[in-house]
C-alpha cells in the first residue's frame, strides 16, 4: 500500500479524503484525488514505468512532470499519456507501453547486449543484401520495434472535441510569479487578459517552494482571482505562436470536451514559461532513481511522496540546494551532497531496476537508491522562436536567452534571468504594463480602422518606453557531461557517444546530427535534450556552444490530439428549397460540391425515358445564378464570354462559353436579358463562386468605369426544369400571364410571369435534355408550392421527377458537353468544338491572345461524339483511345452511357485531330483489356441533331 506517502505537506495538492482506484498493468492500485498517475504509482512503490525505445532499458521517474520522457503510458484506448502530469481519475486502466511480453521481462532487452552494434544510423549501413530480403524481412522486423502506445482505431471514435476563438489584449503564457505579475499589471492597465497555465494550478515553481513562496503565491492568487479583467485557464497550454500573434491554446479538462483548442488573436503575447530543468550526462543517468531536483521537490511537496531513502545529490544552483532541504524534511538520508559549483561530480550510476550505487568524481562509490541532479536549466524559448527570435547562448549563466523580439511579444521571468520572487513579480508587472500599453495602442488603431467598431475615445495612448530592469543572469556552471558517456535523448535512446560518432562521420552541424541520430526528435522535442546535445557537439568539435546553435523548436509546444485540432468538423451543406421533398420521395442523395441533390428517384433510366415520352421535372437550383444590373452589362458579357452579346434583345437568352485568360475553357451557361439594363446569368454549379469573383474583379480593377451591379441569387431562385413533349401542356395549366405558344415564346427566349399563383417567376425556354423544355426560376420561399403544383397537375400527363443521373444520360444523348468532364485543365476553345461561336475579332475578350493562338493550331485534340460499333458495349468514362494495336494514346472517352432512347451506347470523347472527321474509326481500350472499334459521328448530338424536339 501507500508506503511512500509522507505526512501532510503544507503545499500538497492531494485530497487525502478521496481515494481513487485504478489499475496498473492489470493490477489494482489506489491513489488520491490530486495525484498524477505517476505520483500515485510512486506512492504505491512503483519504480519502473517503461522500457526505453531502442535498448529496452528500464525507466523510472526523472522529471515528474509533463516532459518526463520515461512516463508515457497507455490509459484505456489512449496512447502516450503523460503519467507525470495526467491527473488520476477513478477507474483508469493504465499500462506500460512498448514492452513485450511484460514490463518486468522484455525480450527486446536483448538489444542491450548487442547495443554496441546498434550505433546511430546502423540501419543505413546494413540490411542491403540480398536485396529482396529488405522488403520482406528486415522491414517487417524494424517496424515491430516502433515505440509508443497502441491506437485502437477499430473502436475509438472522434469524440466531443470543441474549439473557440478569443481576442484578448494580452495573453500570458505561464502562470508562475512572473506571469501572474504580468497578468495583474496588464489588467490594471485596462487590458483584457488571458492567463494560461500548463499545470492544473497557478503558481509555477512557487507551488513546491517553501513557506515564504507559498505565502507569496496566496497573495498573487488572490489578486488574480479578484480581477475581472483576467480570464484564467489552468491545465491549458499555449502550444503555438503563429504570425501576427495568432495563438493556439490547448485547454484540457473543459467540461464540454476532453481537449479544446482556443485560437486567440492577442494584442500582446507575454511569454513567462519559467525554465525547464535539464538532465546531466553520465553513465547510467537513465537508471530508475536518477531524478532531477524539480522531480523530487514536486513529489515531496505537491503529492507528499517520498522519492527514495538514500540520496546522492549533485547541485549546481539554489534549487538543487533546496532539494536537499526538502529531502531531509521528507526523511531521506543524504549520503552525499555534491556541489558542482566547486567541481564535485558524479561519474556513474549502477543498478538496473533501481539505483544501487553511485561512483563519484572523487572516486568514491556510495550506496544509494536515489540520485538527484540540480545541474541546470533549459530556457523553453519555443514560443519566442516561433515569433522569429534566435535566442543566444550565454556561457556565464549556462543557458539561452531571448535576443530580438517583435513588439507584440514580450518575455519575462526565469526565461529572461534570475531573481527572487519579488524581483520576478516586479519584472512580470513591468512587462505586463508594457504589453498592455502596446495592445491598447493596437486596439485603438483597430477601432479607428474598422468600420463597424466604436471609434476610440480620446487620443492614441502614448507608447511606453521599455524601461524594465533586466533580471540578473546569475553565474551557473556549465554542467553538461561528466567524464563518462550517458543518455542525451531519453525517448530516442541516443547517448553522448552516439553524438560523438555522428559528428565524426560528417554529421557535424547540429541539424545534420539531429537527423542522423534522431536526438531531439522524440515526443519531448528537445525540451530536455537540446542543450545537452549542443554541448556534446561543441565538445566533439572543440567549438564554442555559441557557434553550435540549436535545432529549431516548432509547434506544438506540447503535443495536441488530432481530435482537438479537428474540433467540431464544420462541413456546410447546401440544400435547395425542394430537398426535403426529394428526400421524402425516395431520392437517392448525391453530394455535388457543397450541395446535396437527388441523383435519381430509384429508376434513372425510366426517369430519363419519361422525359423523352411524357414530361419530367428536375430541381436544378445549384446552377449558379447572378443578377446583373446596369447600363454596361452587355460590355461585361462581351468581356467574359467568347461570343457576342451587344445585340441580345430583351426577352432573349443566349448560350455562352467562358475562356480564362490562358485560353482554357473555364465555365459556361446561359444569360437572359430581362429588361433594358437587367440580365440573369447562369453558371455551372461548381463554377458559380469563381465566376462571381471574376466578374467583380473585372468590374473593380479592369473596367471600374463600367456601371454594373452583380447580385448572387442562386439560392433565392429555385430552378426547376420542366422537360418533355408534354411539358407545354402542363405549364399551360399553371402559367397565368405568359403566352406559351411556340410563336410567342420560342426557343431561347425568356418571359416573366406567375406560375401556380406565384408571381415574380422567370421562365426561359432552354434545356440540357434536348427536349421541349422550360426552366422556371421561382422565389424560393414559394418553390415547394410550385413544385407540388407541377406534380399534381401533371399526374395525367405522366409527370415524374428526375435526378442528376437521368439528366446526364439525356444531355449526352443530345451531345451537350460538361465543362470539367468533357473538357480538362488544358482544353482550349477549338477543342471544345466552339468553332463558329468564338469571335476572334472582338476586342475586349481577355482570353483573346490565347484564343487566337489556339485557333491557329491544328494539333489540338477535338471533342467528338463517338459510337461503338457494337451497340451493346458501353465504354467506361476515361477509357483510352489508342492507335490500333499499339499503346500510343490518341484520345479518351470523356462521357459514356447506354442511351435508352436509341437502345445503344453513346459517347463523347477527345481525340487527336487526325481522328476528328465524321466517320473516322477509333480503337477504344476497355478496362478488361479488349480493344473495340467505334465511329466518330457527324454531330455531337446522338439524338435529334436537328433540334426538332427542343424547338417544338
Amino acid at each position: 500500500m501507500t508506503h511512500n506517502r509522507l505526512p501532510v505537506r503544507p503545499g500538497e495538492v492531494i485530497d487525502r479524503e478521496t481515494s481513487l482506484a485504478f489499475t496498473w498493468n492489470g493490477r489494482p492500485h489506489t491513489g488520491l484525488r490530486g495525484d498524477t498517475i505517476a505520483s500515485a504509482l510512486a506512492a504505491d512503490g512503483v519504480e519502473v514505468f517503461a522500457r526505453s525505445m531502442k535498448y529496452k532499458r528500464r525507466r523510472g521517474i526523472m522529471t515528474a512532470d509533463h516532459w518526463d520522457p520515461n512516463l508515457s503510458v497507455q490509459v484505456g484506448d489512449e496512447p502516450n499519456v503523460r503519467a507525470g502530469s495526467r491527473r488520476l481519475v477513478a477507474g483508469m486502466e493504465v499500462s506500460a507501453q512498448n514492452v513485450w511480453p511484460s514490463l518486468k521481462f522484455d525480450i527486446g532487452a536483448a538489444n542491450q547486449l548487442v547495443g554496441r552494434f546498434l550505433s546511430p544510423g546502423f540501419y543505413y549501413k546494413t540490411f542491403m543484401r540480398p536485396k529482396w530480403l529488405w522488403h520482406h524481412l528486415y522491414q517487417t522486423i524494424l517496424r515491430r520495434f516502433a515505440p509508443g502506445g497502441r491506437i485502437h482505431w477499430e473502436t475509438s471514435t472522434h469524440g466531443a472535441y470543441d474549439k473557440r476563438y478569443a481576442h484578448p489584449d494580452v495573453l500570458v503564457a505561464g502562470g508562475g510569479p512572473a506571469g501572474m505579475g504580468a497578468a495583474i499589471a496588464a489588467a490594471e492597465a485596462g487590458a483584457s487578459v488571458m492567463l494560461v497555465e500548463h499545470e492544473p494550478e497557478l503558481g509555477g515553481h512557487l507551488r513546491w517552494g517553501d513557506a515564504e513562496d507559498l505565502t507569496a503565491l496566496a497573495d498573487l492568487l488572490a489578486a488574480v482571482q479578484s480581477h475581472p479583467g483576467i480570464e484564467v485557464l489552468v491545465d491549458s497550454t499555449v502550444t503555438g505562436r503563429y504570425d501576427h500573434n495568432w495563438i493556439a491554446v490547448m485547454q484540457r479538462s473543459h467540461e464540454v470536451a476532453p481537449e479544446r483548442l482556443i485560437k486567440a488573436r492577442a494584442g500582446s503575447l507575454v511569454v513567462a514559461p519559467g525554465l525547464i530543468e535539464r538532465p546531466y550526462v553520465f553513465a547510467g543517468n537513465d537508471t530508475p532513481g536518477v531524478m532531477l531536483s524539480g522531480a523530487v521537490r514536486r513529489l515531496i511537496n505537491l503529492w507528499a511522496v517520498k522519492p527514495g531513502s538514500r540520496a546522492v545529490v549533485l547541485s549546481a544552483n539554489p534549487e538543487g540546494d533546496a532539494a536537499i532541504a526538502d529531502l531531509e524534511a521528507a526523511g531521506v538520508e543524504i549520503v552525499a551532497a555534491l556541489d558542482a559549483r566547486v567541481g564535485e561530480d558524479i561519474v556513474e550510476v549502477e543498478g538496473r531496476g533501481r539505483v544501487r550505487r553511485a561512483v563519484l568524481g572523487d572516486g568514491r562509490t556510495v550506496a544509494a537508491d536515489l540520485v538527484v541532479l540540480g545541474t541546470g536549466w533549459t530556457a523553453p524559448t519555443s514560443l519566442l522562436n516561433m515569433a522569429g527570435d534566435r535566442p543566444v547562448y550565454d556561457p556565464t549563466a549556462a543557458r539561452y536567452f531571448p535576443n530580438q523580439l517583435p513588439d507584440n511579444v514580450l518575455a519575462t521571468g526565469g526565461i529572461t534571468g534570475n531573481g527572487s520572487t519579488v524581483e520576478l513579480v516586479a519584472h512580470g508587472s513591468a512587462t505586463g504594463t508594457l504589453a498592455a500599453n502596446r495592445a491598447l495602442r493596437n486596439r485603438h488603431e483597430r477601432r479607428s480602422s474598422t468600420a463597424r467598431a466604436r471609434s476610440p475615445e480620446g487620443p492614441m495612448p502614448e507608447s511606453l518606453q521599455d524601461t524594465r530592469v533586466p533580471l540578473a543572469r546569475t553565474p551557473h556552471p556549465e554542467c553538461y557531461r561528466s567524464s563518462s558517456h550517458g543518455m542525451v535523448d531519453f525517448s530516442e535512446d541516443v547517448s553522448s557517444k552516439d553524438l560523438f560518432q555522428a559528428s565524426g562521420e560528417g554529421f557535424d552541424s547540429i541539424e545534420l546530427m539531429k537527423r542522423y541520430t534522431t536526438a531531439t526528435m522524440g515526443p519531448s522535442q528537445g525540451k530536455l535534450e537540446t542543450v545537452n546535445a549542443a554541448a556534446v557537439l561543441a565538445e566533439a568539435r572543440s567549438m564554442d556552444m555559441v557557434d553550435i546553435g540549436t535545432t529549431v523548436w516548432r509547434p506544438p509546444f506540447a503535443p495536441i490530439s488530432l481530435g482537438a485540432l479537428a474540433g467540431r468538423i464544420f462541413e456546410p451543406i447546401r440544400r435547395s428549397a425542394l430537398q426535403d421533398w426529394h428526400e421524402a420521395h425516395g431520392a437517392s442523395p448525391l453530394l455535388a460540391g457543397q450541395w446535396v441533390r437527388p441523383d435519381h428517384y430509384g429508376d434513372p433510366v425510366g426517369e430519363a425515358r419519361n422525359v423523352r415520352e411524357n414530361v419530367g421535372i428536375i430541381d436544378v437550383t445549384p446552377l449558379g445564378k447572378l443578377d446583373l444590373r446596369g447600363p454596361d452589362v452587355a460590355k461585361l458579357l462581351e468581356l467574359v464570354y467568347v461570343n457576342r452579346w451587344q445585340k441580345l434583345e430583351i426577352g432573349r437568352v443566349r448560350y455562352g462559353t467562358m475562356v480564362a485568360e490562358d485560353g482554357v475553357v473555364s465555365d459556361d451557361g446561359v444569360t437572359g436579358r430581362l429588361g433594358e439594363d437587367h440580365y440573369l446569368m447562369t453558371t455551372t454549379s461548381s463554377g458559380a463562386g469563381a465566376v462571381w469573383e471574376m466578374l467583380e474583379d473585372y468590374l473593380q480593377t479592369y473596367r471600374p468605369e463600367w456601371n454594373v451591379h452583380v447580385t448572387a441569387v442562386t439560392g433565392g431562385l429555385t430552378s426547376i426544369n420542366v422537360a418533355g413533349p408534354r411539358c407545354r401542356d402542363l405549364l399551360l395549366r399553371l402559367v397565368e400571364d405568359v403566352d406559351l405558344s411556340p410563336e410567342a415564346f420560342p426557343y431561347f427566349h425568356v418571359r416573366r410571369g406567375r406560375v401556380a399563383g406565384v408571381s415574380g417567376c422567370i421562365i426561359w425556354r432552354i434545356g440540357f435534355t434536348g427536349e421541349l423544355s422550360y426552366e422556371l426560376h421561382v422565389p424560393s420561399g414559394h418553390a415547394l408550392h410550385v413544385w407540388e403544383s407541377l406534380i399534381a397537375n401533371g399526374e395525367d400527363l405522366g409527370i415524374r421527377p428526375f435526378g442528376v443521373e437521368s439528366q446526364r444520360i439525356l444531355r449526352l444523348e443530345k451531345g451537350h458537353y460538361i465543362v470539367g468532364q468533357d473538357t480538362d485543365g488544358l482544353t482550349k476553345a477549338p477543342s471544345a468544338g466552339l468553332g463558329g461561336l468564338v469571335k476572334l475579332d472582338k476586342h475586349d475578350t481577355l482570353g483573346l491572345p490565347e484564343l487566337r493562338a489556339s485557333y491557329a493550331r491544328t494539333d489540338l485534340p477535338v471533342l467528338v461524339a463517338i459510337q461503338t460499333d457494337d451497340p451493346e458495349i458501353v465504354p467506361m468514362e476515361a477509357d483510352q483511345i489508342v492507335d490500333g494495336d499499339s499503346n500510343r494514346i490518341l484520345g479518351r472517352i470523356t462521357s459514356s452511357r447506354m442511351s435508352p432512347t436509341l437502345g445503344r451506347s453513346v459517347c463523347l470523347g477527345q481525340v487527336d485531330p487526325s481522328l476528328a472527321a465524321a466517320g473516322s474509326k477509333v480503337t477504344i481500350l476497355l478496362v478488361n483489356g479488349h480493344r473495340v472499334s467505334g465511329t466518330v459521328q457527324e454531330h455531337h448530338a446522338h439524338v435529334d441533331p436537328e433540334g426538332v424536339r427542343q424547338n417544338a
Partner: protein, 191 residues
C-alpha cells in the same frame, strides 16, 4: 398571393437554454432588400448610414450599411414592395429583393457572444462590435452578414446567409449553444 405559405429553409423551431443564457430563432421571413447606390446618388444620401453601421428608420425599416455602396434593409415580413419603393432610384441605383435568397436567424442572450465565439473569428467585444454594428464574416464556414442588434435589453445578433445554407447554419448554431444549456429539438441533425 397571400394564401401561399412562405417556407423557410430552416426546419426547426426556436432553440433556447432554460436559463435564457442563449436562444436562437428563425427570422427568415423578414423582408430583406439590398440596395446598391453609387456615391452621390440621392439614395446613398437618404439611406444615410456608412458601411459597418445601421439605423432604424421612422417607417420601422432597419437600414444596414452592409458593404461599401451597399445597404440591406430589413422590415417586417411581406413589406418588400413597399420597402423597395421607398428607395429613390435616380442615378446608378439598383434594388434587389433578397427575402427569398437569404436565411436569417437571431441569436440572443447573455451568452450569445460566447456562443458565436465558437464559430466566428470576428472580435465581438463591445468596442469592436457595438450595438448597431454591421459586418460580414465566416460563421462555421459560411459567409454571413451579421448585425448586432440588441433586443429587449439583451445582447442579440441577426445573422443572415445564403438561403441554401440556412438549415445547416441553424443546426450548427444550435449545436454550439448546447454548451450553454440549450436543448436541441428532436431530429435536429448537424449536417
Amino acid at each position: 398571393m397571400p394564401d401561399i405559405e412562405f417556407k423557410s429553409p430552416i426546419a426547426h423551431g426556436p432553440v433556447s437554454a432554460p436559463d435564457g443564457s442563449v436562444s436562437l430563432e428563425d427570422e427568415t421571413s423578414t423582408t430583406k432588400v439590398v440596395v446598391r447606390a453609387a456615391t452621390g446618388t440621392a439614395a446613398a444620401a437618404d439611406l444615410g448610414v456608412p458601411y459597418g453601421q445601421s439605423r432604424l428608420r421612422a417607417d420601422g425599416t432597419l437600414v444596414c450599411g452592409t458593404r461599401p455602396g451597399e445597404w440591406t434593409l430589413f422590415a417586417a415580413a411581406g413589406r418588400a414592395t413597399e420597402v423597395a419603393a421607398s428607395v429613390d432610384t435616380d442615378g446608378f441605383v439598383n434594388v434587389v429583393d433578397v427575402t427569398h435568397g437569404r436565411a436569417m436567424m437571431r441569436v440572443s442572450g447573455p451568452k450569445a457572444t460566447a456562443m458565436l465565439a465558437k464559430v466566428c473569428d470576428i472580435d465581438l467585444t463591445d468596442d469592436m462590435a457595438p450595438d448597431g454594428a454591421v459586418f460580414s464574416g465566416s460563421v462555421a464556414k459560411v459567409t454571413c452578414d451579421l448585425l448586432r442588434s440588441d433586443w429587449r435589453g439583451e445582447v442579440s445578433y441577426l445573422i443572415s446567409c445564403e438561403r441554401s445554407f440556412g438549415n445547416y447554419l441553424f443546426a450548427t448554431l444550435a449545436d454550439a449553444s448546447t454548451e450553454f444549456g440549450a436543448e436541441l429539438p428532436t431530429g435536429l441533425d448537424i449536417h
